[in-house]
């Protein structure tokens, strides 16, 4: 084994690979350790919608920073990362939601993020397969989609180019101060350790305020042109973040292959990764409600994924409040593909004494009281 790295990053999902790439690019010697293959956790399950959300000022800031960085990265991404600037349409069902569209437009405008309100006619021109009777939509042209597992692999490749060591198929069994123990019995020592193991992070660092939140997904066969923007119902936020309750929201994404990817559902306290047909059925009925023409299209596969959710839905980025050498980059809930690049930037600035591009406080792990845990 090469000399001890400055930093070990545990977890080769989109967040871990982004952090490894950023840290390596900025001169740190990095070892990235992934239990399975790159991008195989939540990163393999999620929709990969690169979207700037506005549910809090901090979320917006991280989202915008991240989306800008995705745009920069897009030129360097390989074709199989399928980066596509399709834009988002936040669909309003009625006048009440239309008022929310205008409020959202104002919020974005005040922060200089391009977004325009579409009336019903413009909406149907953009997406003729939507059901009649909708009120309009907010069009956010700068949002994109990416195929995250290949993007994670590309980020790991970038880390390697900058001297990082990438170990795959190697599970970490324990993080013990500056030592990381692997399932095969080896131990690696580093200056600092970043736990970026997604939902797996809570097993390595007991006491993390993170809970898995299950989501069902379904993908159709190829129907090019059936939808052309990422379509999300405006009630999404309301549905998605009504903490506690199981919920579904209409979310449809055009894949470059012509397939349509359908989400989304949210369930706490589910540990079984098998498809839950009751929840899947509810989610698909919601999709049919917005896109009735889907009924006769064929679904070729359904699956599920787990989002690592914190109580305030913001990720944990920064030093662990009580473990000296341990840093955290997890808890990205349903936005981690988007916010991975902003997370990497923020983490690297904090670790390598750079100038943070945004206020780190809302993301500081110390904002929570960590309960339990071996050393806490």
């Amino acid at each position: 084994m090469s000399p001890s790295p400055d930093i070990i990053v545990v977890g080769g999902g989109i967040v871990g690979t982004a952090c490894a790439a950023e840290l390596a690019r900025r001169g740190a010697t990095v070892t990235l350790i992934e239990a399975e293959c790159l991008g195989s956790g939540a990163t393999a399950a999620g929709m990969g919608h690169l979207v700037v959300m506005d549910d809090s000022e901090a979320q917006f800031a991280l989202g915008r920073l991240s989306r800008d960085r995705w745009d920069e990265l897009s030129d360097r991404l390989p074709a199989d990362a399928e980066f596509e600037n399709c834009g988002t349409l936040w669909v309003a069902a009625d006048d009440q939601e239309m008022a929310a569209v205008r409020a959202k437009e104002t919020f974005y405008a005040e922060r200089e993020l391009a977004a325009t309100t579409l009336d019903a006619a413009a909406l149907y021109e953009a997406e003729p397969n939507l059901r009649p009777g909708l009120a309009g939509a907010l069009h956010v042209p700068g949002d994109s989609v990416v195929y995250a597992p290949c993007a994670a692999r590309a980020l790991a490749d970038e880390a390697t180019e900058h001297g990082a060591t990438v170990l795959t198929g190697r599970a970490v069994t324990r993080i013990d101060g500056q030592r990381v123990l692997l399932a095969d019995g080896t131990a690696i020592t580093a200056g600092r350790v970043v736990n970026a193991a997604g939902d797996g992070a809570r097993h390595l660092t007991p006491g993390l305020p993170v809970r898995p939140r299950n989501g069902q997904l379904a993908i159709t066969d190829r129907y090019p042109g059936f939808v052309s923007h990422q379509l999300v119902e405006l009630g999404y936020l309301k549905n998605a973040h009504s903490s506690g309750q199981d919920s579904v929201a209409f979310n449809a994404q055009p894949r470059p292959s012509g397939q349509v990817l359908l989400g989304s559902s949210r369930q706490f306290d589910v540990t079984d990764p098998a498809v839950d047909h009751a929840m899947l059925g509810r989610m698909l009925r919601r999709s049919l409600d917005y896109l009735p023409g889907l009924a006769d299209l064929q679904i070729i596969r359904c699956w599920t994924g787990f989002r690592a959710a914190t109580p305030d839905n913001l990720p944990l980025i920064g030093p662990h409040p009580s473990h000296e050498h341990l840093w955290l980059a997890t808890g990205h809930e349903g936005l981690g593909v988007t916010t991975s690049l902003g997370t990497a930037r923020l983490l690297a600035d904090l670790m390598l004494e750079g100038e943070p591009p945004l206020d780190p406080a809302p993301f500081a792990p110390a904002r929570f009281e960590f309960v339990g845990g071996r050393h806490a």
Partner: protein, 438 residues
Amino acid sequence: MIERNAQVVVIGGGPAGLAAAVAADRAGADSVLLIDANVDPGGQIWRGETRRRPDQRNATAGDTLADFGTSAVLHLGESRVVAAPAPGELLVETAEDVLVVRYGSLVIATGARERFVPFPGWTRPNVMGVGGLQAMVKGGLPIEGKRVALAGSGPLLLAVADSLQAHGARIVLVAEQAPSHKVARFGMGMLMDPGKLGQGLGYAWRLRRVPYRRGWWPARADGRHRSRGDASDAPVSRAVLTNGRGQEIIVACDYLACGFHITPSLELVELLGCATEYDTYQGQRTTVVDGMQQTSVAGIYGAGECIGVGGLECALIEGRIAGLAAAGHPAEAAPLLAERDRERNRAQALNAAFSLRPELRRLADPETVVCRCEDIPLSRLVDLSSWREAKLHTRCGMGACQGRVCGGAVEFLFDWEPRSTRPPLFPARVGTLAAPRD
């Protein structure tokens, strides 16, 4: 949404499924439901038999289909099991409807499908599986006067050559990959079995003018467009066979039919959580069953090719045992067990004689397409270490066929753990999976 309940539900209308359904019915099951994707009962081997005049039917087929026709079994044709939403419950899609089927016990008889071994040119038009070509000919594809080369392994090659010849095809070559001594040993085995011998001698006589080369296999399929010259999408114009010692046989042909054994259809088995295991004789995974054909999940039975490739007699007798056990009368199956074991042993001997040689793993070029749905060449797979990695990073096996075609090939080429099975088992309408439950 329609609801159906039955004491015994059988999935698959091939010989194994038909035998199971009839046995369960005769044993006195309250209700037996047979669900099959095809319109008519018969499965792969008896495709089209029900449309023939009874006096022209194959005798075993005739008997089995007649027994089925006069039984009280409810036959649900053109229906596919697409998901298992809850224990004891199946979601079934038909052309128009969605059904929820609840069972007391279940017999899985989903059969097998052809295994493809990729070699340069295998994706050209008119290069196809022996079973596929046979089904198309039974379905009306004109084959009269066409030159057909067959390559692959096992008695199925000769059976298909015989049937294509009977439809007027000119069989230009049958290339058996197994070496002569293994085939000869298998021939000796058949001598011990008068029934099989008669069948074998029949083929031998009818195919006596056809070159039958043992120890040869396809190296590539060349193609030519009449007008545009050589192109990768041109139909096959000649087959190039090799014996691995630098020699080649080149034959002109209109069709190249390949048959590298068949591979059990395990999707439903896996979805229901029944255990599977790697069978070294067959070189592939099969369903684990006990002496009464019960899988690792209580109340779920397996019979026929989906628990391991065994042929017609094996499928029939396993079906009967499974049907009796599923109906709650396992004791009545006791007299059948010894014969079933003999059939299985015979099948294993056959599988051993025609086991695929390791050279077949190295036929594909880096450019040879392995996954046809997603157009993934071999070069993109060789450095990967698992199905999951292949799927996530190349989309291999993620297309409409969900690995039904490339799965067997990939399993043969690389020693990867099997793929995960997720619903739907077949492409299913959004409306079907959205159907409200309770």
